[in-house]
C-alpha cells in the first residue's frame, strides 16, 4: 500500500494534520530527519558526569547513546550499539568505567567509542579469527558531535548542525544562562510515561494558552494569578521558545487582601502555604520561565523549582518524559527544602503539571479516526514570533515551522 503523504493545507502553521500524531512513516522519518538530523539532542547534565569515566546511557530520539567523560576532561558520545552484532554496549543507566565491553562476544571500546578489542581476533590455536583485512579503526559505533552549554550536554549526529550557541540563538542562550549561571546538583530523577505522541507533549510545553485554563490549582487556591507581566519569546527558527512571567509584589498584596475579604473561600486555601513560600533568587523578578529547545528539551524555573526535562518518543503513541530535578550546589539547607516542597507543583503528581501528563492522551484518543482532519492553532493569529501576551499559540506554530523545515514538508498550496 502506498503511504499517503502528510497533507498540509496551508503554508501557515494554523492547521495541524492529526495524521502527524498517528502515522508510522512520519514517526520513522522524524527519527532520521529530526533526531538524527540537523538538531542538537539534550543528553544529560555535565554535573552527572563529574569524573573521568563517569557515563550515562540515554537516548537521542529513539537511538540509544552513551555519554561519557574521558581522562582528558572532554565529554564523548557514541551510539550504544556494538559494532559486531548490534547489542547494547552499556546496560546500566549510569556508572563509572575505564572502558566498555559488550557482554555478547566481549568486543571492547574505549571511552571515546573506538573499537579497541575483538575477542579472539587472531583465532584460537591458529583456527578461526578475523580476516587480515579487518581493521578495528574502521569499525565502531557511530559517534555523536557533543556540545555543552551552561552545563547542559547536547549531542548531534549531524556534521552540518551549527554550533550550539548559534543553534540556540542569543535570546535562548541568555535565558538558559540566567537559570544555569552556577553549578547545579541533581536532587532527584523521575520518569513519566505519557500515552501520546511526543509532539503533543512538546506542544503542551509551548502552549501558554492552556495554562490558566487547564491548571486550576493556582486559580482555585487564588495564588499567583493576578497582574502577571510576561511574554513569549520564539527564536527565528521557531523551534525554541521561552514563556515567562513575574509576580508583581504590589499586585500580589492586592490579591491577597481581596481574598481575605472573601471568607467563604477559606476552605479552598492552602492549609500549609509554605508550599509556595519561595525566595527571590533572580534579580529580574521573573518567577516563572519555561524554555524549550527543539526538538525535545525543556528547562523549567517555576519560582524556586528547577528542573530539566527530556522528551523521548517511544513509538507513535508513547512518550517518556525524564525529569531531572536540580538545585544549586551552593544551596543552603533552607533553600534546598524550598525546592523540595515546590517540586509538588511538577512531575507526575504535580499540582500544576500532573494534568499535562494526561491531556496528551486525551488528544491521542480523541483523534482516532480523524486522520483526514486538522487541529486549529490560530490563537494570536498566524505568526510564529515573539509576543507580549500569553493568550497565543505562537510558539506552538513556531514548533511546526521548525518541524516542517526539518522534515521537508511543503504546504500543498505554498
Amino acid at each position: 500500500m502506498q503511504e499517503q503523504a502528510i497533507h498540509w493545507k496551508s503554508a501557515a502553521n494554523t492547521r495541524i494534520p492529526y495524521r502527524l500524531y498517528v502515522d508510522e512513516a512520519t514517526s520513522a522519518l522524524e527519527q532520521e530527519r529530526i533526531f538524527r538530523g540537523n538538531t542538537w539532542n539534550y543528553l544529560c547534565l555535565e554535573a552527572e558526569l563529574p569524573d573521568a569515566g563517569s557515563y550515562r546511557a540515554t537516548y537521542a530520539g529513539s537511538t540509544p547513546v552513551v555519554v561519557v567523560r574521558d581522562a582528558d576532561g572532554e565529554i564523548y558520545s557514541f551510539e550504544n550499539r556494538c559494532a559486531h552484532r548490534g547489542a547494547l554496549i552499556v546496560l546500566d543507566k549510569a556508572g563509572r568505567a575505564d572502558d566498555f565491553q559488550c557482554v555478547y562476544h566481549a568486543w571492547s571500546y574505549n571511552r571515546q567509542g573506538d573499537l579497541t578489542g575483538v575477542a579472539f581476533e587472531n583465532g584460537v590455536k591458529g583456527q578461526g579469527g578475523m580476516p587480515e583485512t579487518f581493521c578495528k579503526q574502521e569499525h565502531g559505533p557511530r559517534k555523536l558531535r557533543v556540545a555543552t552549554f551552561c552545563g547542559l550536554v547536547f549531542g548531534s549526529f549531524s556534521e552540518d548542525v551549527p554550533d550550539i550557541e548559534e543553534y540556540l540563538g542569543e535570546e535562548i542562550c541568555a535565558r538558559i544562562e540566567r537559570v544555569l549561571h552556577k553549578p547545579v546538583e541533581v536532587i532527584g530523577r523521575f520518569t513519566q510515561k505519557l500515552p501520546n505522541n511526543w509532539k503533543l507533549y512538546v506542544e503542551n510545553v509551548k502552549d501558554s494558552y492552556h495554562a490558566s485554563l487547564l491548571h486550576m490549582f493556582f486559580t482555585t487556591f487564588e495564588l499567583n494569578r493576578l497582574s502577571q507581566r510576561g511574554g513569549v519569546i520564539v527564536d527565528d527558527t521557531g523551534g525554541h521558545h521561552v514563556s515567562y512571567s513575574m509576580i508583581d509584589p504590589a499586585a500580589k498584596d492586592d490579591s491577597y487582601r481581596n481574598q481575605a475579604l472573601r471568607s467563604d473561600n477559606e476552605r479552598y486555601r492552602l492549609k500549609d502555604p509554605s508550599l509556595l513560600a519561595g525566595f527571590r533568587e533572580y534579580d529580574d523578578g521573573i518567577t516563572l520561565q519555561i524554555l524549550s529547545v527543539f526538538p525535545g528539551f525543556v528547562l523549567q524555573q517555576i519560582q524556586n523549582c528547577l528542573a530539566v526535562r527530556q522528551v523521548l518518543p517511544k513509538g507513535i503513541a508513547a512518550t517518556e518524559l525524564n525529569w531531572t530535578y536540580i538545585g544549586y550546589a551552593d544551596d543552603t539547607p533552607e533553600q534546598r527544602k524550598v525546592r523540595l516542597k515546590q517540586l509538588n507543583l511538577v512531575g507526575p503528581a504535580g499540582f500544576i503539571s500532573m494534568e499535562d501528563g494526561a491531556v496528551g492522551g486525551f488528544v491521542q484518543r480523541g483523534i482516532a479516526g480523524a486522520t483526514d482532519m486538522d487541529a486549529i492553532v490560530e490563537m494570536g493569529g498566524d505568526h510564529a514570533g515573539s509576543s507580549e501576551g500569553r493568550a497565543t499559540e505562537t510558539s506552538v506554530r513556531g514548533f511546526w515551522k521548525a518541524y516542517r523545515q526539518h522534515m521537508g514538508q511543503q504546504a500543498a498550496d505554498a
Binding site: V186, G188, R189, Q192, P195, L275, K341, A349, G357, A358
Partner: protein, 154 residues
C-alpha cells in the same frame, strides 16, 4: 509494646481509606509534623531527596486532598492496595519502625485495571494519645517510571 498486629491493622485501615475514596481521612493517619514522600528505588539508593510527592506536615497532605477534590483535573480512577506483612525493624511502647511491601492496582473509569505501583513503605510510627500514627512514611516504588499521572496517594 507496638506489635505486628497493630501495624497490620493500621495499614489495613490506611489502605481502606484510600481505596474507598475516603481521602479526607488519609491525613489523619499522620502526625502533624510528619514526613511523607513518594519516590523510587534509584533515588533512595543514591540518597536523592526529591519526591513525586513531598510533604513535611499533615496540612500539606490535607492540601493535596483538597486540590484533588477541588482543583486538579484527572480521569476518575480507583486504587486497590494489597499490603504485605509489615517487617518490624524496631518497636517499643511508643515507637516502631517497619517496612511493608505494597502493590497498587489502578482501575480507570474506562474499566482498565493495571498494576500501577509496587514498592515498599519505609515507616516510622509513634503512639500519640493511645493512637498509632505515622511520623514518617516513604513510599519507595520499585519502578522508576510513573504512568501518566499520580493523583491519589500511595
Amino acid at each position: 509494646m507496638i506489635d505486628l498486629l497493630q501495624l497490620a491493622a493500621f495499614n489495613a485501615a490506611y489502605a481502606q481509606a484510600i481505596d474507598s475514596d475516603s481521602l479526607e481521612q488519609w491525613p489523619g493517619f499522620f502526625t502533624e509534623d510528619c514526613h511523607y514522600r513518594i519516590t523510587h528505588v534509584e533515588n533512595e539508593a543514591q540518597g536523592l531527596p526529591a519526591g513525586i510527592v513531598w510533604a513535611d506536615s499533615r496540612d500539606m497532605l490535607s492540601d493535596r486532598i483538597a486540590a484533588l477534590r477541588e482543583a486538579n483535573i484527572y480521569e476518575r480512577q480507583r486504587y486497590r492496595h494489597l499490603l504485605g506483612m509489615p517487617l518490624v525493624e524496631a518497636a517499643d511502647e511508643g515507637t516502631a519502625r517497619a517496612r511493608t511491601p505494597f502493590v497498587v492496582v489502578r482501575t480507570m473509569h474506562t474499566g482498565e485495571s493495571d498494576v500501577f505501583a509496587t514498592g515498599e513503605y519505609h515507616d516510622r510510627f509513634v503512639r500519640r494519645d493511645g493512637r498509632l500514627l505515622l511520623a514518617e512514611r516513604v513510599a519507595v516504588c520499585d519502578s522508576t517510571v510513573t504512568d501518566t499521572l499520580l493523583a491519589l496517594p500511595l
